[in-house]
């Protein structure tokens, strides 16, 4: 039972959200130019770190927005959430902004 800070609605219980995979996986501007290996990477291969992981979540039972979330897969600590299109915050600087 996480409390996830939606960048638009504030902290809400996990049950309002749906996980939406790894963040910052960009779709190619020209998909037909990708090699098979690049397609495999884009479609199927994801990071599985022990520690901080940039993820997408959707506030399904709320504003319906997708957003990014830096979550520690070991402790479930959420270091930051930020909007789609924003660059990940500099967490090295200790900016555990929204939790």
């Amino acid at each position: 039972m996480l409390l996830i800070p939606c960048p638009y609605c504030g902290p809400r219980p996990e049950i309002e959200f749906r996980y939406a995979g790894q963040a910052h996986v960009a779709r190619a501007a020209d998909p037909s130019a990708l090699s098979d290996a690049e397609w495999a990477q884009f479609l199927y291969l994801r990071d599985n770190p022990r520690g901080r992981h940039a993820e997408r979540w959707r506030h399904t039972n709320g504003c319906g927005r997708f957003f990014n979330c830096i979550r520690d897969t070991l402790t479930d600590k959420i270091a930051a959430t930020y909007r789609i299109g924003e660059t990940p915050p500099d967490l090295a600087a200790g900016a555990e902004a929204r939790r």
Binding site: Y8, I15, N61, R65
Partner: protein, 208 residues
Amino acid sequence: MPDQALRQRAPLEALARPGRFGATSAAAGVMLSEIRDRGLASVAARKNQRAALLAAAKSAFGCGLPTRPRRAFGRDGLSFVWAGPDQWVAMLDHGPVGGIEPRLAASLKGLASVVDQSDGRAVVRIGGARARAALAKGMPIDLHERAFTPGDAALTFFSHINVHIWQVDETPTYEIAVPRSFVGSFWHWLTEASAEFGYEATGSNSSA
């Protein structure tokens, strides 16, 4: 079409029987009613038109569109509730059928997409001394007066059903918009949650 006019049915018409229900040991802790005469519409800013839209709304309706989860009141019974970034639900008290969309569209043309939702949502008003306690049985957000005040709004859920809630006054009174197809389950669960405190249902309530 035969001469007979098509009869309108409010979402809760068959369900929200007026009367006193649940525990009767004390005064009713929860008051429930359905608002049946309010027009609703989704308003979404067109790309790169947010600033122009806010300005247009200000001059046409006399209120800014809230940019965080709040409700803002304009002229002539019109109000806007935040419904996500660059999205609002516009509401018109005593709105005639199909009346809200043209009224908004005329002023916001090219600045926003407007979609009539007057039939897509049931609006339930809940008030009374135990309204918060009843809502806490299904709603995960903090409605305490330090956390949620008149004018505040939230998109959340009540017992698995997506709802849009905003506070009306400090009594406290809230209004909750529920997708019409879910309103039977919503009403059932809301009344179950309220029964412990005793609730008074009045069939319909004027929107203003």
